[in-house]
């Protein structure tokens, strides 16, 4: 033992470096890997959006390019063998035009020219094989759902190839408007009461109640609409006026569903208005009501507007209540007591059954979904813009 100083243990086999520490940053591989992984977590959200747009877009594209075979009600007047290029149709002529694609049994043909009741055709196009056809074979014409038909058609009857989205959009708008008639005034009134009038004690009771209301699952609201709201409406307006399934009952219950959303977002906006504004109003002799309605609400208007728009978007996307209470079957009606299927209701009903992946029904719900997605996206973007653009910044 040379000496008992603690430093002696260190010097046993090591030399203490006397060189300056390296002052440049060492590459830290582990840290870099972690950062990369976290970055990927963040990027995943973009992939989700891209996935939504891609999948909805892809299937919608298939929907709009898919051939629907529509009967021309003009059967072949004479039998043809596998090589004839002239088809004879009935004496009344035909509505087909050059360039049309037609189908005889499994064979697909292209019309080249129309001469009275004679069709000059190219046989076996699009990979089909020419085959003989007996007289009386029905001629089908290829038809596609055009964008114009999709957005302006007033009938949605997939069985006969009618795909006009208006009845579905109309029902969605009806339920949403009814919901807003319930949720906006009441939600705003609750927000004003909670932020301007209620005592601390009342708030501590009321806010959890609104939170419970917000936590009720939508399917329970659907049950409520069907077993309580509808019978209530029927007993008020008469059983022959109000159908068992109707948009009014679904709309009112959607309004109740978004009520907590409207009230809590509006209340946040009202609470953000500084006290000094209220005190200034009181000093000028304004009553509590005048202060609330003419000073506080205008000052919080951007937040309230954003809350309204988010609520509308929520109401448009709401599914289970309308699936249960609004009825099955697209129906273009402005009567809120009639059944009418909304966009979301239709998607749920079609996909709830055994859905074949290669059917026009499967493609069509994606087209509806795409419209729904853009409607809600637009509303959400507007709401975010409003908040950013018109926010009153105090202090």
């Amino acid at each position: 033992m040379t000496n008992g100083s603690p430093g002696s243990e260190l010097s046993a086999g090591q030399t203490i470096s006397t060189a300056l520490p390296q002052l440049y940053k060492r590459p830290r591989i582990r840290e870099a890997i972690i950062q990369a992984i976290l970055f990927l977590c963040g990027v995943l959200s973009i992939l989700i959006t891209a996935g939504i747009v891609y999948e909805l877009g892809k299937e919608s594209l298939r929907f709009f390019t898919r051939e629907l075979w529509e009967s021309t009600n003009k059967p072949l007047a004479a039998a043809v063998d596998a090589s004839t290029t002239t088809l004879e149709v009935g004496p009344a002529g035909t509505s087909l035009r050059p360039g049309d694609i037609i189908r005889l049994q499994d064979e697909i043909l292209r019309v080249e020219a129309v001469e009275g009741n004679l069709l000059r055709v190219t046989r076996g196009v699009k990979g089909s094989t020419p085959a003989p056809h007996p007289a009386g074979t029905e001629i089908f014409r290829a038809d596609r759902v055009s964008l114009a038909e999709f957005f302006t058609g007033t009938q949605w009857i997939p069985q006969i190839g009618k795909f006009g989205i208006l009845p579905l959009v109309n029902a969605t708008l009806m339920t949403s408007v009814i919901a807003m008639l319930v949720a906006l005034p009441i939600g705003l009134a609750i927000a004003i009461y909670l932020s301007e009038y209620a005592s601390e004690r009342a708030r501590s009771i009321l806010k959890p109640i609104m939170e419970v209301l917000a936590g009720v699952p939508t399917v329970v609201y659907g049950y409520f609409a069907l077993t309580f709201m509808t019978p209530l409406l029927r007993s008020i307006f008469g059983r022959d006026v109000v159908e068992v399934y109707n948009t009014a009952s679904a709309g009112i219950v959607i309004g109740i569903l978004v009520l907590p959303l409207v009230s809590s977002m509006s209340e946040d906006a009202l609470n953000a208005v500084p006290r000094s504004l209220r005190e200034a109003a009181y000093a000028l002799g304004a009553t509590k009501l005048e202060t609330a309605l003419k000073v506080v609400v205008p000052a919080a208007l951007s937040g309230i507007a954003a809350a309204f728009i988010v609520a509308i978007s929520r109401a448009i996307g709401e599914t289970m209540i309308v699936a249960i209470a609004a009825g099955a079957g697209p129906n273009l009606t402005f009567n809120p007591f009639q059944p009418a299927e909304t966009m979301t209701g239709h998607i749920v009903r079609i996909s709830g059954g055994d859905l074949s992946y290669d059917s026009i029904d499967y493609n069509s719900i994606f087209a509806i979904g795409l419209v729904l997605f853009f409607m809600t996206l637009l509303l959400n973007i507007i709401s975010q813009r409003i908040v950013r653009r018109f926010r009153e910044v105090y202090e």
């Binding site: 582990r30 840290e31 972690i34 950062q35 976290l38 977590c41 963040g42 959200s45 989700i48 959006t49 996935g51 999948e55 909805l56 299937e59 009441i186 009134a189 609750i190 004003i192 009461y193 301007e196 009038y197 009321l206 109640i209 939170e211 419970v212 209301l213 936590g215 009720v216 699952p217 939508t218 399917v219 329970v220 659907g222 049950y223 409520f224 069907l226 077993t227 309580f228 009553t287 509590k288 009501l289 978007s313 929520r314 448009i316 996307g317 599914t319 289970m320 249960i324 998607i347 749920v348 996909s351 992946y357 719900i365 979904g369 729904l372 997605f373 809600t376 996206l377 959400n380 973007i381």
Partner: protein, 418 residues
């Protein structure tokens, strides 16, 4: 003459005249605001009333074989031998042989035999149900109605929500149907949702709050997350249908892992549903976790850096533990959203009628909300009663989750303050 202030400068009279009117309006409107708030409470109470009203009530039973024709005393009290005799006399030889093969009658307990007699011989069937309120206030009328319309029916009070309801699988007969399959399906689905969405969500939140600089890419990510939170849930269902159920079918059906028969398997499994709900709650978890991380005071980070910790060490040892209560609160709330979600699962293809319990990620499944939806859409009253009872189960589950989130939040607040 001295200059006088014209009285019109301050219209005191007008002001005074106006004042009572303004106060009246103020009082009126205050009442309107208050009534609106009361409306919210009334709605909640009505909802609860509506569900409870259908979950309990009188039920008229009809027996295929009236119990008193079998024995002189109540069947429950009969000894084992008597019950065996009843079975042997009333059940066909075929069925009896099958029952013997399952478990010899001799070896069965009195309760088991009683259940068998009820199921095989007595066969009770519900013919009509009444709501709780009717059962209490119109008991006399109901008894008359039963005596008139169903002379050989029994009237009994039934709680649709009972232990048997919780432990029985789905059945097409309302008196036997239960929610066990659905509850297990919900739990399996949510387990996968948590495993998928929690790490990814927290990871994304850490990246956005701690690493991301203010450039266009990160701004797009942030805006995108906010927008995703507003996408209707049914759209996620369609995404799940296209990606998890169809495109990734070999994985989600379990064929790749040898967990399923390639001939019968398809992608409509617990795994697909869990992943779909995971995508749905991911934005919510991210946004909540971001808020929790943002609330961690900067001084903590600086102290950690000052001691020479690296960025990840700072995050892992200081930021995340401090943000954890907030992150968990947000996650629990998101999970309760996932449990209550119905529409995306209908689209992804939850089986509406299934009687076997899910056993793993590749099982067919149903969940509690889907069960409610299914029962609600049936026209018979008995199924409405079942839907109401299942709603109570679901709401109790969600409320206890939410309550735990609130408690967690309060505890975390106290700790930070203390």
């Amino acid at each position: 003459m001295t200059a006088q202030i014209p009285s019109s400068a301050f219209p005191e009279e007008q002001f005074a005249e106006n004042l009572p009117q303004r106060h009246r309006t103020a009082r009126w409107m205050a009442a309107v605001f208050q009534i609106s708030t009361v409306f919210g409470i009334i709605v909640l109470l009505t909802l609860l009333y509506n569900i409870i009203n259908s979950s309990f009530g009188l039920v008229a039973w009809q027996y295929r074989v009236p119990p008193e024709s079998l024995a002189g005393m109540p069947l429950e009290e009969l000894p084992k031998e008597e019950l065996m005799r009843i079975l042997q006399e009333n059940v066909s030889a075929n069925v009896l042989r099958r029952l013997e093969r399952e478990k010899p009658l001799e070896a069965r307990s009195q309760e088991e035999l009683y259940a068998l007699v009820m199921e095989r011989v007595v066969q009770p069937k519900i013919v009509k149900t009444w709501s709780l309120v009717d059962s209490i206030f119109r008991r006399g009328e109901i008894m008359q109605e039963v005596a008139r319309d169903y002379p050989d029916a029994y009237l009994r009070f039934r709680s649709w929500l009972n232990a048997r309801f919780l432990t029985s699988p789905q059945s097409s007969r309302p008196e036997l149907a239960g929610v066990r399959t659905a509850i297990l399906g919900s739990l399996w689905t949510v387990l996968i949702t948590i495993l998928f969405a929690f790490p990814l969500g927290v990871g994304a939140a850490v990246y956005l709050e701690e690493y991301a600089s203010d450039n266009w890419l990160n701004r797009i990510i942030q805006t995108n997350i906010n927008n995703l939170a507003g996408v209707p849930s049914i759209i996620y269902g369609m995404l799940g249908l296209a990606i998890f159920v169809r495109a990734m079918e070999p994985i989600t059906s379990g064929i790749w892992f040898g967990a399923a028969e390639p001939a019968t398997a398809n992608g409509r499994t617990v795994l697909s549903a869990g992943l779909t709900l995971g995508l749905l709650v991911l934005p919510l978890i991210i946004i909540n976790a971001q808020e929790a991380i943002r609330a961690v005071p900067n001084s903590l980070r600086q102290a950690s850096y000052g001691l020479g910790a690296t960025k990840w060490q700072t995050i892992w040892h200081h930021v995340l533990p401090n943000a954890l209560p907030g992150i968990l609160t947000g996650t629990i709330l998101s999970i309760s959203r996932a449990i209550g979600e119905t529409a995306p699962l209908v689209v992804v293809g939850a089986s509406t009628f299934i009687t076997v319990d899910p056993t793993g990620p590749f099982s067919k499944f149903t969940t509690l909300p889907i069960q409610i939806y299914q029962w609600t859409s049936r026209p018979q009253d008995e199924f409405r009663n079942l839907a109401a009872a299942a709603s109570i189960v679901l709401m109790v589950l969600l409320l206890s989750l939410n309550a735990s989130a609130v408690l967690l939040r309060q505890r975390a607040r106290r700790r930070i303050r203390g």
